[in-house]
């Protein structure tokens, strides 16, 4: 069953100002889709609308065939949708363990400790300082904690908004490696990225969003080899990505 689909989705922060202007999109089982596009195209707004953070004006959102349009973020999470926002995606005033405990609260009580343990095993960098405040983590470690928080509940769909933003090249490599591992284990991923080159390397498919509409939908390899697409849709700042 299709893990995630939108039909004619219109969404925006204010009632009469749609930012997302009718998007039909499906994420296939096990899929890994990159959402690309120029600054201000509405990439973040699109995934925030899916996650329940931005009001949907019309159209529909479905998870595994069930209509979930208009549900609150915590209800969507319980239905298997996990979202990692671009910024402020961890609780800085709490310890790493508390961040994970918060996420584990949606699981049945007996399952909680096991999942927290599994996440700490998956991210050893977090494990040996689990009592430290999350606010003291480096950018890469913060991203790992945010991803761990999302994965802890075994989501049916994982959505991330620019997880590479502001990270060192080494940290970007680690984050993307982790995403590939997660996807290989069966979790479909929707990834918003500015870092086009890196995104096209890990994603199987890419969509290009321009002014709130989907303008291009193609296998990542095809897009990566098409300099025209890069110049047309990704903006000057992304030239190196299109050449990759």
């Amino acid at each position: 069953m299709t893990p995630l689909a939108t039909a004619a989705l219109v969404a925006g922060y204010e009632r009469d100002l749609p930012i997302i202007k009718g998007i039909d999109f499906t994420l296939a089982p096990g899929g890994f889709v990159a959402v690309l596009g120029p600054n201000g195209a509405g990439k973040s707004t699109f995934v925030k609308a899916i996650a329940g953070l931005v009001p949907v004006h019309s159209g529909a959102l479905s998870l595994r065939g069930a209509n979930v349009t208009g549900l609150a973020p915590h209800e969507l999470l319980r239905r298997g949708l996990a979202f990692v926002p671009q910024t402020e995606n961890i609780f800085a005033t709490m310890t790493i363990r508390e961040n994970l405990q918060l996420a584990a609260a949606v699981l049945p009580r007996p399952a909680r400790a096991g999942r927290i343990g599994a996440m700490l095993e998956m991210f050893p960098d977090l494990a040996h300082r689990s009592g430290a405040l999350a606010g003291g983590l480096s950018g890469g470690q913060r991203q790992m904690l945010a991803i761990a928080r999302a994965l802890l509940v075994k989501p049916q769909v994982l959505i991330l908004d620019e997880p590479s933003a502001g990270l060192s090249p080494k940290a970007v490599g680690q984050v993307f490696e982790t995403l590939v591992r997660i996807n290989a284990a069966g979790t479909p991923i929707l990834l918003v990225e500015q870092n086009v080159r890196a995104a096209l390397k890990v994603a199987a498919r890419a969509v290009i969003l321009v002014d709130g509409r989907l303008r291009h939908d193609a296998p990542a390899a095809e897009l990566a080899g098409d300099p025209e697409i890069g110049a047309l849709f990704l903006g000057a700042g992304h030239g190196e990505g299109a050449r990759a």
């Binding site: 329940g52 953070l53 973020p73 915590h74 999470l77 979202f83 609780f91 005033t93 709490m94 609260a105």
Partner: protein, 304 residues
């Protein structure tokens, strides 16, 4: 008067202020607005305790003797517990009728604060209408102050109140730091959007905050009514010290609110004895200004 006695009196007022400020600091940090109607929750709590105690008294034929060595009968603690539930219900009702609607509409903070000002007046007028503005008392029993070390004197009621306050503060602190709902409250306070994404139902957390804030306000109001008197303006007059305590302790911090309350109470007591009773109200102002200038995040607060 001797310094230990001034400290003790300050601590007594301060404990009440701290208890009331806990609810204020929690609503401030989690609902993100300064609730000017919080004082009225104290007052309503005090009057609800009075009414329920009166009903219990009537039902038992007013035959209950005071609990030795205190000034009140069993009717008051039982009524206090019931009134805590009723005040929590009142806080939930005000939220459902007013603040919740404004939140749903995405109203700006200043609108919500002004609405709380209106709620404060309406709640206070309601009390004056129901109970008149004449002071009321839980008991007419007179208490003899006991001699304590260092030349201090206090009544058994006062000492009981200090002990109860310490217990309540400890319980609320443990709840916030050790339980799931406490963690969820801290999460909503830090980042409501992320809390939702983490699976927390913010509406449920907000309900818990009102229940806790209302119940603690009732406890503070009832104790204040027992030690001083019950008046429709008692909570409103405490509002400034409550804010001073919450800001001094750092918005969102329960131990901070308590410590802030003690500091405000002790400063007030010294101001009364050294300068004059008419300066009591100025203490809250001065403390708020000093804290905002010197350390806006308060003693226990995190930088915004």
């Amino acid at each position: 008067m001797m310094i230990p006695q001034i400290l003790l009196e300050g601590a007594l007022t301060g404990a009440l202020i701290g208890l009331g400020a806990i609810g204020l600091t929690l609503t401030y940090s989690i609902l993100r607005f300064a609730n000017f109607a919080h004082g009225e929750l104290l007052t309503w709590g005090a009057y609800l305790s009075l009414s329920v105690a009166g009903l219990i008294g009537a039902a038992t034929g007013a035959s209950l003797p005071p609990i030795d060595p205190f000034s009140f009968t069993w009717a008051l603690p039982v009524a206090g517990l019931i009134a805590m539930l009723l005040t929590a219900a009142l806080a939930l009702a005000v939220d459902a009728a007013l603040f919740g609607r404004l939140r749903g509409r995405g109203a700006s903070t200043i609108i919500v604060v002004m609405a709380s000002f209106g709620a404060s007046m309406a709640l206070r007028s309601g009390l004056e209408f129901l109970y008149t503005s004449k002071p009321a008392y839980y008991t007419t029993e007179l208490q003899i102050a006991m001699r304590l070390p260092a030349g201090m004197r206090a009544t058994p009621d006062q000492l009981l109140m200090l002990g109860l306050t310490a217990l309540v503060v400890l319980a609320v602190h443990l709840m916030l730091t050790r339980t799931g709902i406490g963690r969820a409250m801290r999460a909503v306070s830090e980042n409501p959007a992320l809390a939702g994404l983490t699976g927390i139902d913010t509406r449920k957390v907000i309900r818990v905050v009102w229940i806790l804030g209302g119940a603690l306000a009732c406890a503070a109001g009832t104790m204040s009514g027992l030690l001083v008197q019950i008046r429709p303006y008692m909570g409103f007059d405490l509002l400034l010290p409550l804010f001073a305590a919450a800001i001094l302790g750092g918005i969102g911090s329960v131990p901070g609110a308590m410590l802030g309350g003690l500091i405000v109470g002790i400063c007030e007591a010294f101001a009364v004895h050294l300068i004059g009773a008419e300066w009591r109200a100025a203490v809250g102002f001065v403390l708020i200004i000093l804290v905002l200038l010197a350390r806006p995040s308060g003693l226990f607060g995190r930088a915004a």
